[in-house]
């Protein structure tokens, strides 16, 4: 019998990989070999998973509800696009610059946004996105404005793999980036840093009282998240070869929040479940008339809030708990 507190055991147990956590990666490989015509769509899904993962750090772990995260996705997208148009076409370094640039923007704006709470914070997040949109629109000689940024080309990846029209290179590239970010995020949230974020989400005053630098932790989480969102944006540009103003839009910020919530907030895998569900549903339902997709988004949100607080993964948890309790009672009987 160990003397260690059960909480510590639980924490250490969470660091171990379970078989289920391999499922997304098996699926990604499966799609590559068995559904080659879906690779461009698959790539979009992977990019959005990265974006949703970044939002989960802020919303799910730091407990900061924001409707302006597209600002950082868009910043990354535009940085990557502008670097390419300026004549530097090496994809990996461009992607890193997109991430670093978005992180810098995150640190800068986070320092203001995180001072506010509630509606004020929501408002400021939206303001950042709109300011960037107005700038991109104003300097249309640079960004292409409403028409979008065209002529974005990249050299072959690692000097060998061309960004082909079947999306094979982009798909594998995005998948590898997702893998790296997933490893990073997993280490991060199971480290004391991630635990302190969860503490701040639950009770900021108490965390302050036990000596956690609440403000700095939140800002750091926001910055890291903005950087990851920027990477997602950069990937989107590199695989599409085009940047449109919509990457900065409120609609995108809202959509990514809905995807995350659908999967489940504050559990990294919410992004892996919610994004594909949302995007596949959108792809099938909104084919006829995209407008009524709004109704379904609204319905999803109401259902999740009223009946399934933890999203799809929350339902899964309940089912697992229920069936294991059933199994336990049977064992006794």
């Amino acid at each position: 019998m160990s003397i260690r507190a059960p909480a510590i055991d639980a924490l250490l147990k969470r660091r171990k990989l379970t078989a289920l956590e391999m499922l997304p990666w098996l699926l990604i490989v499966f799609v590559y070999f068995e559904m080659p015509t879906y690779l461009p769509f698959g790539n979009q899904i992977i990019v959005m998973i990265i974006f949703a993962l970044s939002l989960d750090l802020v919303v799910g772990y730091a407990g900061v509800v924001t409707l302006g995260h597209a600002a950082f996705f868009g910043a990354g997208a535009y940085i990557a696009g502008l670097i390419a148009v300026a004549g530097w076409n090496e994809p990996i370094s461009t992607l890193l610059l997109a991430g670093v640039g978005a992180a810098a923007l995150g640190a800068l704006t986070g320092a203001v946004i995180l001072r506010a709470t509630g509606l004020g914070l929501l408002m400021l997040g939206m303001v950042v996105g709109l300011i960037l949109t107005q700038l991109a629109n104003r300097f249309s000689w640079l960004t292409g404005g409403f028409d979008g940024l065209r002529g974005v080309n990249f050299d072959p990846l690692l000097g060998k793999f061309d960004f082909d029209i079947f999306g094979r290179t982009a798909y594998c590239y995005s998948a590898v980036v997702l893998l790296l970010i997933w490893i990073f995020a997993r280490l991060l949230i199971n480290a004391p840093f991630g635990q302190s974020l969860a503490g701040i989400r639950e009770n900021a005053d108490r965390m302050e009282a036990i000596g956690t630098p609440v403000w700095r932790r939140k800002l750091l989480a926001f910055t890291l998240s903005a950087g990851i969102a920027g990477l997602a944006g950069g990937l989107a540009t590199e695989s599409a070869g085009f940047v449109s103003l919509s990457v900065l839009s409120l609609e995108l910020s809202g959509a990514i929040l809905v995807m995350l919530v659908l999967g489940g907030v504050g559990r990294i895998y919410g992004a892996f479940v919610g994004v594909p569900l949302y995007m596949i549903a959108q792809d099938t339902i909104s084919k006829g008339d995209p407008v009524y997709w709004n109704f379904w988004i609204g319905a999803i949100l109401l259902l999740v809030v009223l009946f399934a607080k933890g999203g799809v993964l929350g339902i899964y948890d309940v089912v697992v708990r229920f069936s294991s309790r059933r199994a336990a009672t049977w064992g006794r009987g």
Partner: protein, 290 residues
Amino acid sequence: MAALETLLSIAFAGLAFGAVLYLVSVGLSITMGLLGIANLAHGAFAAIGGYLAFYFANKAGVPYLLAIACAAILTGAGSFFLERTLYAKVYDAGELEQVLLSIGLVFITTAGLHFAFGPVPTTIQPPSYLLGSIDTGWRTFPTYRVFLIASGFAAFIILWLGIERTDLGAKIRAAVDNRHMAEAIGINTARLFSVVFALGSALAALGGALGTEVISLTPGYGLEHLLYFLIVVSVGGLGSIKGPFFAALLLGVGDAACKILVPEFGSFFILVAVFLLILAMPQGLFGRSQ
């Protein structure tokens, strides 16, 4: 003379826009101050009110002012129902749940309005006595805008008197100041909140219906203009009647100034100003520190 002309048109367009912003947003400020519910669907109520008034006035032939009054009452009643059935479930939940629920309502409203009225931006034709312009001898002012500005000021004065002088107003002030203490002395804050919520939504509907010439009705109204409503509330300060009034007028005039003086930048400068203002005064202009 040209400079004066420009200043006047900025002030006039800005005040009319500000008056509409005030009507729509003030209810949100009070409900936020009362219970701290992040209700992002507030603007959607304005859209519903606007479309209802449009339906009554243009399709059913009801007189303009009566149509708007009916729309406001119906929207208020509808929101009372929604408050009891949906919002009441998320009062004790986190901010995220409130944001998700209310933004979900915005999306459903958008789809519903699109289904019922189509995607084209709509305005309600004002009656003949509001068309034309008022000649002061010095210069002329469009009657409709004068009417809007007057409505905004009238709403402000009525609300201010209502909050300061009536029993209901005293209860609201008490509950905004300290909800638990207000409950302890026997104020039913839950019922109070339902009433305030309905009144706020009715005002929003009024603003949405009156202001269609300034902010035209589209199915996406609730999301498109949400940012401006939130700016009014956060810059003005939560739980106040006075704060949103000055914030709305400032935002209206600032926005008009930006669009007339530097149209190529859109609302860039006003947004930066909001950003800096909240940096300096996180509680807004008239907000109380919690």
